[in-house]
């Protein structure tokens, strides 16, 4: 008995408990899966306690910045491909430790994920690998098929393929009562510019401009006619075809979920899980490929992703990477809830994502999401992304809120973007 007592004391006091702290965004649908991964990791490492700090997505990057600046307790964190460049610039992430994944080389680690996924989700920089891909998504367009039937449209035949078709279909889907819009044909978020820039970026890339690199973006500023055509395509939805009344509602994702709009364009596979929290039923919803230009490039909505990184402040980077490997080892659980993770193999060697699960859990996965994933447009991923996005949103805002002409707005955007890169 004394021996048992001594042994128990040694277990409690002899082996120091290691705490790993991970910063992640919160989403009620996915948080339980993360907790499951934490429990599995702690079961494998009884002397390790993992604390996941769940944060609203809008606050996540700022909180992570603050913790890093104050040299607080942080072992790992999640960032999007748009957020990662500034953190890379500040040298805040550690390169991948292959041994933590049970591998001999970084290449062996990279091969466990879909080819190209490290680059797309921002987990790689200048040929070196830092992050663990956690989410790979692409934006597609969404339409309410019940609304289509209500106005005499056929969901099998009348899904719009071009921007002209889209404006026409969305126009039919607008609903008014007493001259007041009670359902938009299309809407986007009228307060948060990023969602509007996502669509504008796709339009510009379809028109042949390269808005995904600093060099390409600057070069595109010398093509005012193309810029004007792209901006006009988007802003006409408000000012000309009037399929979008911004004064009616401001949040497109909530708006689509509550049938305040018949279409929207800023949802990925994960939106199925979000839709379940609103009143519109899955059976009445169909995602479809982003509209195209007849004479434009065959590119779909913006592709983006999230990666998990180990902080340079981590006292146990090897354990932290092992935790991230565990966290990214539940692609089927996430796929069942609509979140696609680009992992092919687990560190144990077994297959990661079961394509059948993805097909079953993500409606229209084979018909829409997978084909579009192969031809996504890309947003600028640079330390100047945020001021550039501001300038792009200002260009849209000037036209739809101030009544400025498209040409004048383009002229101002060109000078603002050129000034950002000076």
């Amino acid at each position: 008995m004394i021996t048992s007592l001594i042994f128990a004391c040694a277990m409690v006091w002899g082996v120091p408990k290691i705490t790993l702290i991970h910063y992640h965004w919160t989403e009620t649908t996915y948080d339980p899966i993360i907790q499951k991964a934490v429990k599995a990791f702690e079961a494998k490492h009884p002397n390790v306690e993992v604390k996941v700090i769940f944060l609203p997505d809008a606050d996540r990057a700022n909180v992570i910045r603050t913790v890093l600046a104050s040299k607080g307790d942080i072992d790992s964190f999640a960032l999007s491909n748009g957020e990662a460049p500034e953190f890379y610039e500040g040298g805040q992430m550690l390169p991948i430790i292959p041994a933590s994944f049970g591998k001999k080389s970084v290449d062996d680690v990279v091969k466990m994920w879909n080819p190209g996924s490290f680059e797309t989700v921002g987990a790689a920089r200048d040929g070196a690998y830092y992050g663990v891909p956690f989410e790979l998504s692409n934006f597609v367009a969404w339409i309410n098929t019940a609304d289509m039937k209500e106005v005499g449209l056929d969901p099998k035949r009348d899904i719009p393929k071009t921007w002209e078709d889209f404006a026409a279909v969305a126009g039919k889907l607008v609903k008014k009562q007493g001259g007041v819009t009670v359902r938009n044909g299309f809407m986007n978020n009228s307060k948060a510019g990023v969602f509007n820039v996502i669509v504008l970026d796709t339009i510009m890339e379809q028109l042949g401009l390269d808005w995904s690199t600093e060099k390409g973006l600057l070069a595109s500023m010398d093509k005012p006619d193309v810029l004007a055509r792209g901006l006009r395509t988007y802003t006409d939805l408000v000012t000309k075809s009037k399929v979008w009344e911004p004064a009616f509602a401001d949040n497109d994702r909530e708006g689509f979920g509550n049938n305040k709009t018949a279409t929207f364009m800023t949802g990925g596979t994960w939106y199925w899980g979000v839709l379940d929290t609103y009143s519109v039923k899955r059976a009445d919803v169909q995602p479809f490929a982003f509209p195209r230009f007849k004479d434009g490039k065959d590119l779909g909505g913006v592709g983006y992703g999230f990666a998990l990184f180990v902080s340079k402040l981590s006292k146990h980077p090897d354990l932290a990477f092992e935790f991230l490997d565990t966290l990214a080892s539940y692609p089927n659980d996430f796929a069942a809830k609509g979140l696609y993770q680009p992992r092919e193999k687990l560190s144990t060697g077994s297959m990661a994502i079961d394509a059948a699960v993805a097909r079953k859990s993500i409606p229209y996965y084979d018909e829409v999401f997978k084909p579009e994933l192969g031809k996504t447009s890309r947003m600028l991923s640079s330390t100047k992304s945020t001021p550039v996005m501001d300038a792009q949103w200002d260009a849209i805002s000037r036209v739809i809120f101030e009544g400025v002409s498209v040409d004048d707005s383009v002229a101002k955007m060109r000078s603002e973007i050129k000034a950002i890169f000076q």
């Binding site: 910045r65 600046a69 610039e89 911004p246 004064a247 509602a249």
Partner: protein, 292 residues
């Protein structure tokens, strides 16, 4: 007679002990951050890269930045309209509720004061819904005038929507201050005026307004300082839009720091903000001392 156990010096020392906790909290949570902001305004820093000393560059940029000019003008305009509307309404309500003709005074006072105690965020969310095209305000205006402005998506209407909300939120607070001021005026002044044949307007202009001089100074300058520092209403409802038409200075400071990660520039803007409020505070102190 027993000798006193306290000298003046001992009393002073004890006084410092009592003041010390507040002084420490004040220093840690107000003075130190303020001085840090002054220091940070001389640097370029995004929290995750090395700090870079740039001297007065942030202040030079600030003077040339059209966004700063826009924000400053928007703030002054919001401030002026809100102060005028709030103080006029508060004074009128105070006069009405102090009148002998008013019924259910306590109930009405509580009703007008109620918005003051409500959470700004909750107020913002509800008013946003009311201002939407199918919201209560838009429907009411449409039913009276036949049309309604797009309150939150028209750059000409949105600033006025913010003034309406700010006025509604704070009028009760200033009404209480005016009521306190009115209660301080001796009733004998009004009795004497009535005996001399003075009507309502003469009593108002010759007795009430002059007697409330200090109250006016306090309420007007307080409301200027408070409305100049307004942030929550614009942040919750419009985020400074549409097209920067409601982007007041406090919101610009927030955006520069927490959305564009230019903490040095944001600190420089907060120095400008501080200087402006310092001017208003000094004016208030001088006016109140002149009143004494």
């Amino acid at each position: 007679m027993r000798a006193s156990g306290y000298s003046v010096t001992a009393l002073q020392r004890h006084g410092y002990v009592f003041v010390a906790p507040t002084l420490i909290l004040f220093s840690v949570f107000l003075i130190y951050p303020m001085l840090s902001a002054f220091d940070l305004s001389l640097f370029d820093w995004n929290l995750i890269s090395a700090k870079r000393f740039v001297g007065l560059k942030n202040f030079r940029l600030m003077l040339q930045d059209p966004m700063v000019v826009n924000s400053y003008v928007r703030t002054l305009s919001f401030c002026a309209l809100t102060v005028i509307a709030t103080n006029v309404l508060a004074f009128v309500f105070a006069l009405m509720l102090q009148s002998n003709l008013a019924k259910a005074k306590n109930f009405l006072q509580s009703l007008i004061f109620l918005p003051v105690v409500l959470s700004l965020v909750a107020v913002g969310v509800v008013w946003e819904l009311m201002f939407q095209s199918t919201g209560l305000i838009s429907m009411a205006v449409r039913s009276i005038f036949g049309f309604s402005p797009a309150w939150l998506t028209d750059t000409r209407a949105a600033p006025y929507a913010m003034v309406i909300i700010a006025t509604w939120k704070s009028v009760g607070f200033y009404m209480i201050m005016y009521i306190a001021g009115l209660l301080d005026i001796p009733e004998t002044y009004y009795e004497a005026a009535r005996i001399d044949g003075a009507g309502f307007w003469r009593q108002l202009t010759r007795i009430t307004v002059p007697s409330l001089r200090n109250t006016f100074v306090l309420t007007i300058v307080s409301s200027i300082i408070f409305s100049f520092g307004q942030f929550a209403i614009q942040y919750v409802i419009t985020k400074g839009g549409p097209s920067h038409s409601t982007e007041i200075l406090a919101l610009l400071i927030y955006r520069q720091g927490f959305e564009l990660y230019k903490f040095g520039y944001s600190s420089a803007l907060s120095v400008l903000f501080f200087m402006t409020l310092l001017v208003f505070s000094v004016i208030q102190l001088k006016l109140m001392r002149a009143g004494e």
